[in-house]
Amino acid sequence: MIKIFTLGILIIFVFLIIQLCRSGRLTFKYAVGWLCFGAIGIIGAIFDNFVSVLAHRCGFIVTSNFVFFALMIFFIILSLFLTTFLCQQNKRNDIMAQKIAIMALELDYLKERSKKDHG
């Protein structure tokens, strides 16, 4: 029952990602990671015995602990990735604002000079 429920949730999740891509609210570049996450989740739900073996090999007694641990690591890495992306965008934003401001000053200067030249 849990297996079917998990599979259902993951399929809905993947479908949602595809829909977001189709509507243009999520670009393919950033959807790839989520699609891979969904695919790995579906594979894990289908082959749950494999997940149990992997959990025990990694030293986890309870498989769910392993799943929570893996999810936590995934979200920490994702947060770090998003923070770096945010910093990059912030820097680009600053550069753009600085460029616009300097160009606006130059434009004002050219306008004034043009006015003077044309009387």
Binding site: D94, Q98, K99, A101, I102, A104
Partner: protein, 241 residues
């Protein structure tokens, strides 16, 4: 003063309409430098007051913070081929009569960056709050320990630099509370850093940008920033504006 040395004074300003005119007039009276005011998204008439006073004004479309505002000035200085850039606060704290002594070591090619210090004799009588003095002392020691640079006033925003450092700062300039970190950046770029004694006055109007921030946060943030700046990779390619 050397005639063919192009000097520019960069004044970052945020809501300083009451003091900016006087600061600009004082600098104009010296007749040694062009002035660029970087209006960092002011909500008052700072830009208009600066224009009326005869300065060129770069108006940022929104508030980017003091570091980005100063960096805009450096980008402008690089774009127009200035040889020396001087930072002056818009609040009237910096006595611009010391502009000539500040740029003299750069003109003599003895220094690449010169910081105006409140704590050097014969003008070492500047008094600030205990906690502020403690912070300045802490950063003095930290910068000395990490870089070997001996400065007495690492938080002073009254400073000058030559063309090589204009290029460095135009490419990359620290963001929040940038003064101590900029010294480390200059040292990373192998700059010769010096200080000259200057007088600083109480603010004409307004309030300090760090007044409402917890001093502890400021100390921790700048300390981390200095550590990170010390180990930062060199030869970063900047944006060519």
């Amino acid at each position: 003063m050397t005639v063919n040395v192009k000097t520019i004074v960069i004044i970052p300003a945020l809501n300083e309409e009451d003091s900016i005119t006087e600061v600009i007039k004082d600098i104009q009276a010296l007749q040694i430098a062009d002035i660029i005011v970087v209006d960092d998204g002011s909500t008052d008439n700072t830009a208009l007051a600066a224009k009326k006073a005869g300065a060129r004004v770069v108006s940022l479309p929104f508030n980017l913070g003091i570091g980005a505002a100063v960096q805009t000035g450096y980008k402008y200085a690089r774009r127009y081929g200035y040889d020396i850039a001087v930072q002056v606060d818009a609040d009237g704290q910096h006595d611009v009569q010391y502009l000539r002594p500040l740029i003299a070591p750069i003109l003599a090619n003895e220094r690449d960056v010169v910081i105006g210090s409140r704590f050097l004799p014969p003008f070492s009588g500047y008094r600030s709050s205990f906690i502020r003095r403690l912070g300045i002392h802490f950063f003095t020691r930290l910068i000395s320990l990490l870089t070997g640079v001996q400065v007495t006033d690492p938080t002073s925003g009254f400073r000058a630099c030559n063309q090589a450092m204009i290029n460095v700062f135009a490419d990359d300039y620290p963001s929040d509370f940038p003064e101590p970190e900029a010294i480390v950046e200059a040292k990373n770029a192998s700059a010769r850093i010096g200080e000259v004694a200057v007088v600083m006055h109480p603010r004409l109007t307004g309030h300090s940008s760090i007044r409402y921030l917890k001093t502890g946060y400021y100390m921790i943030k700048v300390t981390f920033a200095i550590f990170l700046r010390t180990i930062q990779q060199k030869n970063k390619k900047g944006h060519p504006l």
